[in-house]
């Protein structure tokens, strides 16, 4: 399997210029064009901590993104926790290590900030995302998601 090498792929902090690339990847993977949603999300992460989210660039095009930040107090977790909240890789560049490069960059950034624990939630109907996080070294946690419909 061809793998993108570190020299081809640039992983860098999120910027507002990445909006089109992100909207595009999300449209390809979710089959919905939702620019307003992504504009809100990207603005949210940019104003909180632009270095806490990353995009992967190949030949100047955004081919993947991972958004998250550091918070404490969520669900009673007092310690500073890194959250990986949204990710996407352009299917045209899937399976080439883009996701892995993004994940490793995020973890390194969290580490540099002194964060000791990184969390995410994976939709059980998306085994590829589960597999992806497991390869990054994530393991199932004690906390179980609950939901009640109203």
């Amino acid at each position: 399997m061809p793998v993108v090498t570190a020299s081809d792929l640039v992983v860098r902090s999120l910027s507002e210029l990445d909006l089109d690339g992100i909207v595009r990847i999300a449209e390809k993977t979710r089959h919905r064009y939702q620019p307003d949603l992504w504009e809100d999300r990207v603005t949210f992460y940019l104003r909180r901590d632009p270095e806490g989210s990353v995009v992967a660039e190949l030949d100047g095009d955004v081919v993947g993104f991972m958004l998250g930040d550091v918070r404490s107090g969520e669900f009673g977790l007092e310690e500073e926790t890194g959250w990986i909240e949204v990710l996407g890789v352009d299917p045209a560049h899937g399976g080439l290590g883009v996701g892995k490069a993004l994940g490793e960059a995020m973890l390194e950034r969290f580490r540099q900030r002194g964060v000791r624990r990184v969390r995410t939630l994976v939709d059980a109907s998306m085994p590829e995302v589960k597999g992806f996080f497991e390869r990054l070294g994530f393991e199932a946690d004690q906390m179980t998601p609950y939901v009640k419909r109203l």
Binding site: E16, L17, E27, K28, T43, L46
Partner: protein
């Protein structure tokens, strides 16, 4: 994100900034009171100086590359220190200056969230100005500038629209379109200046940049996101905004943005002295490509709003064709789309100053025809401003042969009110512009 240290200015300077804020940023208290409503879960704003820890300690470019960075002004060669003082003063001027501009039209926003974003951005610009005062106050600049800290702080705080260092900060806003286009274009120059100053051979300057850059990322979103939404409104036929209005505002601000990089031929001393890693033209080139992308993305957002049935790939192909070949596609004409004005359009500083180049790069023989072209391609309200009037005067003088372009550009912007405003002002021009080889200044 690495560790940062946080400091406040000594009380009298801190109080001076607070007093300035009460005059020029009267909505600050509203922002703080409503912070959680507009920016839930975000850390609270704080007026202070942040310094990043753990940055490179050796000089990153130029003739002293590899030697230890300077911790004190006294360690620097006088000419380098002088250039640096000019940079700090210019940077401070842009920060305070942009607040004065934004305040003029802040109340005219039609959307509450957009207004709140601009207001937060203004508070962060105040912090940026505060950060520059911190640099002046922390060190002994008197041997370099001939002015005491009091005098330097006072001079900066007494600048008004019209007396700021750089042209873009001497132009009055006319509507909220200016607030937004300014963030998208002028703050973007700020991002470039800050990233360049991040390598400064003067450590306190370099350490001041990372937090400012983080905030700048939000300022750019404050410009770009509303613009993306406005082009959709325009596509839907909203009476509130049209692409023509946005285009005219691009025409108003792009030339000023380009000039903020300093003369295209200059900037080599900054590199030589380890103050910035790029010469002016190089940085301006990168900026030019970046705003090209901003415009392209806006056109994409517009096209998809005009033709919602189009698939992604078809929309991309259609836009590429419209932008390269013109013509029309399913009723959308290429002329409707946004474009960057020619790089030499409406220039009054730098290499192409006063060349009478039009929007498409066409050149004009008669000054009357050129000014007519400008009035058709600039926003209506701008034509009535002092800034445009001054351009018309200088342009006419150059066209008639009464002045050389170099003489005329020295007048733009005119420093009309230096020291004259504040009744207690004993302000001095503690940095002479002439001492700077070519302007390689800074930005909001």
């Amino acid at each position: 994100m690495a560790e940062t240290t946080t400091t406040e200015l000594p009380k009298r300077y801190h109080d001076a900034v607070v007093k300035w804020r009460e005059t020029f940023l009267p909505d600050y208290d509203f922002l703080i009171e409503n912070w959680d409503r507009y920016f839930p879960r975000d850390p609270k704003f704080r007026l202070c100086a942040y310094r990043e820890c753990g940055m490179p300690c050796s000089i990153e470019c130029g003739e002293d590359q590899g030697k230890p960075k300077h911790q004190k002004v006294a360690d620097m060669k006088p000419e380098v220190a002088h250039q640096l003082a000019a940079q700090i003063r210019a940077q401070a001027s842009t920060e305070f200056g942009s607040i004065q501009q934004h305040q003029l039209t802040l109340a005219r926003a039609q959307d509450e969230q957009e207004q709140a974003m601009v207001l937060r951005m203004m508070a962060e610009e105040l912090r940026h100005g505060y950060q520059m005062l911190h640099l002046l106050q922390e060190d002994d600049w008197q041997p370099v500038t001939g002015a005491s800290t009091d005098q330097m702080v006072e001079e900066i705080l007494s600048m008004r629209t019209g007396s700021h260092v750089l042209g873009a900060f001497n132009i009055d806003f006319e509507s909220f379109v200016d607030n937004i286009v300014f963030c998208a274009l002028i703050d973007r120059v700020g991002k470039y200046q800050l990233s360049m100053q991040k390598i400064s051979s003067y450590s306190p300057m370099a350490e001041s940049m990372p937090q400012m850059l983080r905030e700048e990322a939000f300022h750019l979103a404050t410009g770009v996101v509303p613009l993306r939404r406005w082009v959709v409104k325009a596509a839907e036929g909203s009476p509130m905004i049209t692409l023509e209005v946005i285009q005219k505002h691009l025409n108003k601000w792009v030339p000023r943005a380009l000039e903020m990089f300093g003369d295209e031929r200059g900037g080599s001393t900054n590199v030589k002295w380890g103050l910035k890693p790029m010469k002016n033209r190089e940085a301006q080139d990168q900026y030019w490509r970046e705003i090209g992308k901003v415009v392209h993305d806006l056109n994409m957002r517009y096209l998809r709003a005009r033709l919602p049935q189009l698939e992604l790939a078809d929309a991309e192909a259609a836009l590429a064709r419209l932008e390269s070949d013109g013509g029309s596609f399913q009723g959308v004409r290429a002329e409707e789309l946004l474009r960057l004005p020619h790089r030499e359009y409406f220039r009054r500083r730098g290499e192409p100053a006063f060349r009478m180049v039009g929007f498409d790069g066409e050149t004009f023989e008669s000054v009357e025809a050129y000014l007519g072209h400008l009035t058709r391609t600039l926003p209506d309200g701008y034509r009535a401003t002092r800034d445009f009037l001054e351009f018309v005067e200088q342009m006419t003088a150059v066209a008639r042969g009464d002045k050389k372009p170099e003489e005329a550009q020295r007048v733009m912007p005119q420093l009309r009110r230096v020291g004259g405003v504040c009744p207690c002002s004993r302000a001095v021009r503690w940095v002479a512009d002439e001492a700077v080889e070519l302007p390689g200044p800074a930005a909001g």
